[in-house]
Symmetry: none
Subunit: 409 residues, 2 copies
């Protein structure tokens, strides 16, 4: 059988609950989305619990599951995936932290947890810290967006069981890291050595001198939180024997892709924000399919509307996604197995992720097309896929793409 | 409550995908099968993933799951079940191989991998090898169909981690087995001793003398492949407290039955081929139910049509199955819990097993009869069983048969 390609489109935070102001419809039910509905009508549909029924997923744990990695086995915290997301080549056993550039006074009291909302110069500051040696421990450091950063400690015998140095409030000193288990002593020592050295390297850095001259708050220290050990993740291309590409604006999803060995593509105009150029994403996905056999596309915008509690804005985003899908539909190669789903629900009434299942539609040659006429939370519940889990999706897509190994004979 | 009997009918490879030439219907949807539909109308229906959604099952792994044994725990390869299928009483820890009678020249180059397609005399040849002692290792050997055979090594400290002696091609020598781990040395030595002794016992065997006289290729050696260790399998009759019988034409399914302690019945005319006498199978099942409380029937024919890519032939087979079911329906005792399902899909478009779910119908006193009107892949998806897994089936049937243990109080 001909092997097919797979396109997985994850509409971040798409799922929702009935909204009173929308006549008890969900934003998906209220939106005008003829192309999404066309895919539902010509595909097989169902509900998908990204992790398990009722479990509130993060975007990271859900994407891991959708890609076939059991988050209960491999998720050790956000740090490792954030670090991968900002471009650190994380390795199994590394200890990764999320960090903030902060402003501290001479007694290392935190004056500003966002270093005056610094947006420029953080790459230069990060360079000063990257490659630092703390005894036998090596530091890898990268700036993220705005004041955010990621730090990795690499060395033998390290442990993620250390406390944060981030006091999580202002007006109090940066905290000394403490080991939470005896074998974490060396790690805590390295973290505290990092704090000392970082202060020394940052306080008189040219970027900070320029900031001081302009009266801006200094970025003269980095506080750390959320230590996690980088898990072993069998590379996606080896696991499924496919060349794989990922298109995502947000660092966390880019990090998930990088951590599992999926090439992350940069798409001009695709920002991960509400202003993202969705058609550019669709074109990038089609272009990627020319060389890759698996392409993941994450569209972050619905999640942002959910977090903001903006039902009408979420409807508008869904209608823009529908236009993206119309663009894609007219150009979609016949051999592509297309899956449309979400990583979780972000109901506008909750303003955060919920444990509700999300719609899933698979459009491909050979599926048992069902009677579902609309792509929404209620309609797909009667579809032919029934209720599946995030971890089921990759095996189903691989089987439809004629890429699954037989188990037994 | 009265304890009921269970009849599980596995229609091998029955599931399919929409076929263009059938107006995008599956063979099941296109077939005229009033009795199968009657059972769907009067039973409870659903989709069944033999292993898990999207996973492409073998017939062996799927039957293990349908019988309640988790294949991820107990499946160690085909060898042990093939050996059981040809009648070797395999025991936990035995190392089982699949084998071929072959023709070799004086330098033990394989001249014919099927020994001139030998069909007769293999039982006598097997008897010459069965019971062979290789140091402390005992050989159990049986002929299978045609040139096929199975070998079991029994002894302490054996390992399945040895290479094949089968070169898998002609014109090259029989390969010396090599250990793939240090504790497999004794096993590799025994395998090589078997090759030497077998050649000595077979080359001048009366069967071969007769073949030589007729100008036929000799069956003067056996090559081995696919070593597997026999897993521990709690006997089915003990596990479920039932007397159990199995009706299957193909050796592999007979082997699965034997390996779990299900009595395999011989049914004259039931061949495991397209020419099988299905009504004889139904009568044998009814007769078996007079003493057994659990009867498994495997009908191999749909799978054969799937592998051959013959949609119209698959439809004819389904219509013959329908006649078998009509015969059975009119004679079915009222206390029997009947389950109708498949071990996997073998779509005619794929010509191999796929990871698609299969229909399952349970007809029994006490089920919640649903609205499903037809026994096919699409119709059952809206049934009352929802989407279940192979491992779920036995607990459901035992519960309906009033044979399940309570978990808790």
């Amino acid at each position: 059988m001909e092997r097919r390609r797979i396109l997985l489109i994850v509409l971040d935070g798409l799922g929702d609950r009935p909204v009173k102001e929308l006549g008890h419809k969900t934003p998906l039910e209220a939106a005008n989305k003829p192309t999404l509905d066309w895919f539902a009508q010509n595909g097989i549909n169902g509900l998908l619990d990204p992790i398990a029924p009722g479990v509130r997923p993060g975007s990271d744990t859900s994407h891991l599951a959708l890609l076939g990695y059991d988050p209960f086995e491999v998720y050790t915290g956000r740090g490792p995936f954030e670090a991968a997301g900002v471009g650190i080549d994380v390795r199994k056993g590394d200890i990764a932290f999320r960090g903030n550039f902060v402003t501290v006074d001479e007694d290392r009291n935190v004056v500003d947890r966002r270093a005056g909302r610094i947006r420029e110069g953080t790459d230069e500051l990060a360079k000063a810290l990257d490659g630092m040696k703390l005894g036998r421990v090596k530091v890898l450091f990268r700036a993220g967006t705005d004041h955010r950063a990621a730090l990795v400690l690499r060395g033998k015998g390290l442990s993620p069981k250390v406390t944060d140095t981030d006091p999580h409030e202002e007006g109090v000193p940066v905290i000394e890291a403490k080991p939470l288990e005896s074998k974490a002593k060396a790690t805590a020592k390295a973290v505290n050595a990092f704090t000392d050295k970082a202060y020394g390297l940052l306080k008189d850095h040219a970027v900070n001198k320029a900031r001081a001259a302009k009266g801006e708050a200094l970025a003269n220290l980095v506080v750390l939180r959320g230590a996690g050990v980088v898990p072993h993740l069998e590379p996606f291309p080896e696991r499924y024997n496919v060349k794989a590409a990922g298109i995502a604006g947000v660092a966390l999803i880019r990090g998930i892709c990088r951590a599992v060995g999926i090439d992350v593509l940069d798409v001009p105009g695709a920002t991960g924000g509400l202003d993202t150029d969705m058609v550019a994403k669709a074109d990038a996905a089609l272009a990627a399919l020319e060389t890759a056999e698996f392409v993941l596309v994450n569209v972050k915008a619905p999640d942002l509307c959910g977090h903001d509690g903006q039902a009408s804005e979420k409807i508008r985003v869904i209608e823009r996604i529908d236009q993206m899908m119309a663009h894609l539909k007219s150009r979609l190669p016949a051999d592509v197995v297309l899956a449309l789903t979400a990583d979780h629900s972000t109901p506008v009434s909750v303003k955060d992720h919920s444990g509700d299942p999300v719609p899933v539609t698979i459009f491909a040659e050979g599926v048992h097309v069902d009677d579902v006429a609309r792509f929404d939370e209620r309609a797909v519940a009667r579809g032919g896929l029934g209720r599946i889990r995030g971890l089921d999706l990759m095996p189903i897509l691989l089987s439809l793409a004629n890429r699954a190994e037989k188990f037994g004979s």
